[in-house]
C-alpha cells in the first residue's frame, strides 16, 4: 500500500529535507505511525498529547480534508496522496 506524503517545510528536518515520503499504510492513523518509524519524532509534531492531529494542521487525502472523511480512520489505498498543510490566513 504505497502512499505518497507531501511534507511541509516545517517538518522536513525530520525527513532529511525530503519534501515527499513513500509510506505503507491502510489508514491515516497507521500512516502517522509508519512515518514515526522512518522519521522518529515526527508524530510528536503532528499529534497532540492525546494522539490526535493538532488543530492547526490540515490533513488531506488526495483533495479531501480528512475531517470531511473518517478523520484519522480514513482508509488509504495504493497510489493515494496525503498532504500535510498548516492552516493559513486568507482572503
Amino acid at each position: 500500500m504505497a502512499v505518497k506524503v507531501l511534507i511541509p517545510t516545517t517538518l522536513q528536518k525530520f525527513t532529511s529535507d525530503r519534501a515527499t515520503l513513500e509510506c505503507d499504510a491502510t489508514s491515516i492513523a497507521e500512516l502517522i505511525d509508519s512515518m514515526e518509524q522512518s522519521c522518529p519524532g515526527i508524530k510528536g509534531r503532528l499529534c497532540d498529547e492525546e494522539g490526535k492531529p493538532r488543530r492547526f494542521l490540515n490533513l488531506y487525502v488526495n483533495d479531501e480534508d480528512i475531517r470531511f472523511l473518517e478523520g484519522v480512520q480514513t482508509a488509504l489505498k495504493d497510489g493515494d496522496q496525503v498532504s500535510i498543510v498548516p492552516a493559513v490566513a486568507g482572503g
Binding site: T10, R45, D48, E49, R55, F56, A87, G90, G91
Partner: protein, 458 residues
C-alpha cells in the same frame, strides 16, 4: 481555551529559530538608524509561546500554532504620541512604529485613512443612534482593506529579500498584491478560485501578474499554495509572510480610534472570513490602550458570516470551542473560507467581549448591499452586505444597544461584485430625446414608486 493542554511545548524555554538568526541580525544592524526605529522584536507562537527570529515563517515548528509579531511596548510608549502620529503621512504608515517593518521608506501608495462616516440615515432606519461606517470600499489602491495588509507584507517582503510575491486569494487580495507588486517592481504570481467574479479577475489581470485560476474553492487554492510555498522561494503574503501581512489589519483599529477623537467605540461589527481581520482590530485597540494612546474601555466585537459559509457562526451558536470546516456555497465569495485559520481566536474574542457572531442568507446579503447604498451612498461588495445584514439582524434581536457607539467595517467595493446585485436593482428608463418622452417616463416611475414597486428575490 488556549491552555497548555494543547501544547506539550508550553513549558519549554523560549526558542529562537536556529536557521538564520545571524543573517537577520546583520540585516537589521547594518543601519543604526533603522535598528532604533524597529520596535518589533520577534515572532511568537500564539499557542505555545515559542519565539522565532522575524523571518519568512508562519507556523510554530513545535505545535503548528500561528506565529504573531511581538513588539517592545516600552519603546513604543516612549516613541509614539498622538501628535507624532498626526504629524505622519495620511496613510497607514502614520502607525509605522506599530507595524513589523524596519525601513523608513515603506511602500506607501496612499493606503488607509479611509473615511469614518457618521451613518445617520442607516442608523435611523435600523433604530440606532450612534452608528459609523469605516469605509474601506474606497481604500487605495484597489478598493478593499487588503491594501493595508499587502502594503505591510510587500514592504517586509522586500526587507527579507524576496523578488517574487504571491498569494492565495478570493479576489481582493489578488487585486491588491498584483497592484502593489507592480508599484514596487516585484514579480507577482497569484492563485484564485476559477469561479471568481469578473471584476475581481479583471482587476488583477490589468497589473500583468501571472494568474493561476484554480479549479476548486478557496480552501483548495490555499492548500495548493502551501505546497507551492514549500518548493518555490516566493513570498506568499498570506502564507510565509502571514505574520507581517496580518498586522496590517490593526490599522483598521488605530484609525477608528483616531477618527473618533482618540476614543474607542462601544461595539464593532466586522465580516469574518479567516478571522484574521477581526482579531487584528482587537489587537490594534489593545495596543493603543497598552501604550496609553487611548483610555481603556470595553468594546464588544461582533462578527458577520454568510449562511453558505458560516463555520465560525455555527461554532458560536453551538457553544463549541473548535471550528468544524465547511464547504462554502454563497454569493459572498470574498469571505467564503470554509476552514478559517483564525476562527478559534475570533470566537474567543466575540465571547469574551460580550459580542455575537451571526450569519445571514444570500438574499439578506443583497438587501444589505442595497440598504447601505440607499441610505449612505456607499456601494459595497458582498462581504459588506453581509456585515450590514448582520448588523440589522443583531439590532432586531436586541443585541446592539441603540445608544452604543457602533462601528461597522465595510471592507470592499461593490463595483467588483456586480453579479451579486444584477437583477435585484432597478433599470434605467430608456427614453427618446424628447420632452414628452421624458415626462411619460417620469410619470411612470412615480406610479411605480406609489405602488411601492420593488423586485422580489427569487
Amino acid at each position: 481555551m488556549f491552555d497548555e493542554y494543547f501544547c506539550p511545548c508550553y513549558h519549554r524555554p523560549q526558542l529562537v529559530d536556529a536557521h538564520s538568526p545571524t543573517e537577520t541580525m546583520t540585516q537589521t544592524i547594518q543601519s543604526p538608524e533603522l535598528a532604533t526605529q524597529a520596535t518589533f522584536t520577534a515572532l511568537k507562537c500564539k499557542e505555545c509561546g515559542a519565539e522565532y527570529e522575524p523571518q519568512a515563517i508562519h507556523v510554530c515548528e513545535f505545535c503548528f500554532g500561528p506565529l504573531e509579531v511581538s513588539y517592545d511596548y516600552n519603546a513604543l510608549r516612549r516613541q509614539v504620541t498622538r501628535e507624532s502620529i498626526q504629524a505622519g503621512p495620511n496613510s497607514i504608515w502614520r502607525y509605522r512604529s506599530f507595524l513589523p517593518v524596519s525601513t523608513q521608506t515603506p511602500i506607501d501608495v496612499g493606503t488607509g485613512m479611509t473615511p469614518l462616516v457618521r451613518a445617520n440615515r442607516l442608523a435611523r432606519r435600523l433604530g440606532l443612534k450612534n452608528l459609523y461606517i469605516k469605509n474601506d470600499a474606497v481604500n487605495m489602491p484597489t478598493l478593499s482593506f487588503k491594501d493595508r495588509v499587502v502594503s505591510v507584507a510587500l514592504t517586509r517582503a522586500k526587507e527579507l529579500g524576496f523578488s517574487t510575491v504571491s498569494c492565495a486569494s478570493t479576489g481582493n487580495l489578488a487585486n491588491s498584491t498584483a497592484a502593489i507588486a507592480a508599484h514596487a517592481g516585484l514579480d507577482c504570481c497569484v492563485f484564485i478560485p476559477s469561479d471568481l467574479e469578473a471584476g475581481k479577475v479583471l482587476g488583477t489581470l490589468i497589473y500583468s501578474p501571472t494568474v493561476m485560476a484554480v479549479q476548486g474553492n478557496y480552501d483548495q487554492v490555499n492548500r495548493l499554495c502551501c505546497e507551492v510555498a514549500n518548493t518555490y522561494g516566493w513570498g506568499f503574503v498570506n502564507i510565509n509572510l502571514r505574520p507581517y501581512y496580518s498586522e496590517g489589519s490593526k490599522t483598521l483599529g488605530y484609525e477608528v480610534i483616531e477618527q473618533l477623537g482618540w476614543k474607542l467605540p462601544d461595539h464593532i461589527v466586522a465580516p469574518l472570513a479567516s478571522g484574521s481581520l477581526f482579531t487584528k482590530i482587537h489587537k490594534g485597540f489593545q495596543e493603543f490602550i497598552k501604550v496609553g494612546l487611548v483610555e481603556d474601555k470595553d468594546v464588544r466585537f461582533s462578527g458577520a458570516q454568510a449562511d453558505g459559509c458560516s463555520p465560525i457562526a455555527q461554532a458560536f451558536r453551538e457553544d463549541r470551542d473548535f471550528i468544524a470546516p465547511v464547504k462554502p456555497n454563497t454569493i459572498a465569495k470574498s469571505i467564503a473560507i470554509g476552514n478559517p485559520a483564525d476562527g478559534v481566536y475570533a470566537l474567543e474574542i466575540a465571547r469574551k467581549t460580550g459580542g455575537n457572531i451571526e450569519s445571514v442568507s444570500d438574499a439578506e446579503i443583497v438587501d444589505g448591499i442595497k440598504l447601505l447604498a440607499e441610505t449612505e451612498g456607499i456601494f459595497t461588495e458582498t462581504a459588506g452586505g453581509t456585515t450590514i445584514a448582520v448588523l440589522k439582524k443583531l439590532v432586531e434581536a436586541g443585541k446592539i444597544d441603540p445608544d452604543e457607539t457602533t462601528v461597522a467595517y465595510i471592507t470592499g467595493n461593490g463595483l467588483k461584485t456586480q453579479e451579486a446585485v444584477q437583477g435585484y436593482i432597478g433599470e434605467p428608463l430608456t427614453i427618446e430625446a424628447k420632452l414628452e418622452s421624458f415626462e411619460r417616463a417620469l410619470e411612470r416611475s412615480r406610479t411605480l414608486e406609489r405602488l411601492d414597486w420593488q423586485q422580489v428575490l427569487v
